[in-house]
Amino acid sequence: MDFVVQQITSGLAEGAIYASVALALVMIFTATEHLNFAQGEMAMFSTYIAWTLINAGVPYWIAFVITVLVSFVGGVAIQFAVLRPLARAPVLAYVIVFIGLLVIFNSMAGWIWSYVLKEFPSPFKAFSTGSTLIGSHQLGVIAVTLIVLTALYLFFRFTPLGLAMRAAAQNPISAKLVGVRVGWMLALGWGLAAGIGAIAGMMVAPIVFLDPNMMAGILLYGFASALLGGISNPAGAVLGGFIFGVLQNVPTIVERWLGTNVIGNELKLTFALVVVVAVLTFKPSGLFGQVRIKRV
């Protein structure tokens, strides 16, 4: 029984990471109706910026805030410089551009900071949870994720600006017809997504150590989590992350009980992905997503 609880809590802790990445993806999707594959690499790049600041002696939380702000500006800049000119291109052209960005950020990070693993501090180490099941950092990640989620939810649901951003993403022409400056909304969306990504990166780095390829796998699972929970629903995406985290450990629990080792550690993640795809086949909008309406 202890084993099961331990697997579940560690699954939740890992899930928190996927949840925070999923949030960034939901953000960018809500604001732009595109899924930015480069999100992970941008987050990683932001984390390196934070690392540089912290190494230069800047206190953690100040470095944190500066990094988020710089990432915000960076996101806006990328939207202006890289995506604006693409306005009339087909969807797949966007995908290629995102891949291009992904590769550029990854490569630049390696070039500037090298591929040597670096340690990244956790601001939560000072506290102790008094429990052996879950560490202080992991609790901290969960807390931060929930705070960002709440802020985002309130923003999109209850502020005019949030509403305008959703409208601009879903139907840019109609949005213009109500006076929404669609271009700015897209830029803002990118900025916010980059900021959230930075937060996710800074939460992940203390656990897996900072290196240019840190986010690659995590991005995919964040993506799966977002789709599992429902890409149109921030809360759903976060829940999706937690579910995905625990889901990975389900085979371990079952096999411990059965005494087998078929799936083992190697295929854990494949298993979880298969489950996600199966769920999506039956519930295409995800577990908690809003059904998308298509009119002819």
């Binding site: 509403l163 109609s174 213009k176 109500v178 006076g179 309406i293």
Partner: protein
């Protein structure tokens, strides 16, 4: 009295194809003008040109200011509300959110709230469905929503693109009746594009007839309605 909307020698292009070949017309403040014509005559293109959604050449003036080079969203902020072809509803947002978006550019919250009440007065059915996802509304309800959203802007000029399209005759009559009320009570000028010539000519005070991108007839709605050629081609008798 100078016209609220003045269009001079407007040419519009979709890619390599020219859709309008030099259209000119004017709309007085407080009036309802209708653009008639068969499919492909250029009516929708004209409305789109006013909002700079199409590549154009020529002069367009609104309330004395030249707008042909302004961005769509800026033209809207001057007080031009466009109810597009197909309604342009935000299908995944609720009725309430659609209406709130209509008033996005307005600052005075109290006025906006009053406007919302007036809209529900014109279209009580929308109040019943206020939290429903807009895409689940019927065609008629979506048209009502589209007009309401335009009203929430408190526009000086409303551009309406085929409001009768795909709607049952009774629903259309109701909507046109309410449009007349809006014109009189809210003092909103209207530029109406319609295929249903009879209805449009009853509502409007001026009419222009377009054929393949050119104005072939213009005048008071009464006169146009009684014109032999128009009666044969567009009214069916």
């Amino acid at each position: 009295m100078s016209s609220l909307l003045e269009v001079k020698d407007l040419r519009a292009m979709y890619g390599q194809t020219t859709a309008l070949h030099g259209v000119s017309f004017a709309l007085e403040e407080g009036g309802i003008t209708t653009l008639l014509g068969a499919n492909g005559a250029g009516k929708t293109t004209t409305l789109r040109s006013v909002c700079n959604m199409v590549r154009t050449e020529g002069e367009i003036s609104f309330a004395g200011a030249r707008i042909e080079k302004m961005a769509t969203e800026e033209i809207v902020r001057l007080g031009v509300a466009h109810v597009p072809e197909g309604r342009g509803t935000f299908v995944n947002l609720t009725v309430e959110e659609n209406l709130k978006l209509g008033s996005y550019t307005r600052k005075n919250r109290a006025e906006v709230a009053r406007e919302m009440d007036r809209v529900f007065d014109y279209f009580p059915r929308l109040k019943e469905r206020i939290q429903q996802q807009a895409g689940t509304l019927s065609g008629g309800e979506q048209q009502m929503l589209a007009i309401s959203r335009a009203l929430m802007l408190k526009p000086r000029l409303m551009l309406l693109d085929e409001p009768s399209f795909g709607l049952a005759p009774l629903v259309v009559q109701e909507i046109f009746r309410i449009m007349r009320r809006i014109n009189q009570e809210e003092k909103v000028s209207m530029l109406l594009v319609e295929q249903n010539a009879a209805l449009a000519l009853d509502l409007a005070d001026h009419a222009y007839v377009l054929e393949t991108g050119r104005v072939v007839m213009s005048g008071l709605a009464e006169e146009v309605k009684n014109d032999e050629g128009i009666r044969r081609s567009y009214l069916g008798y």
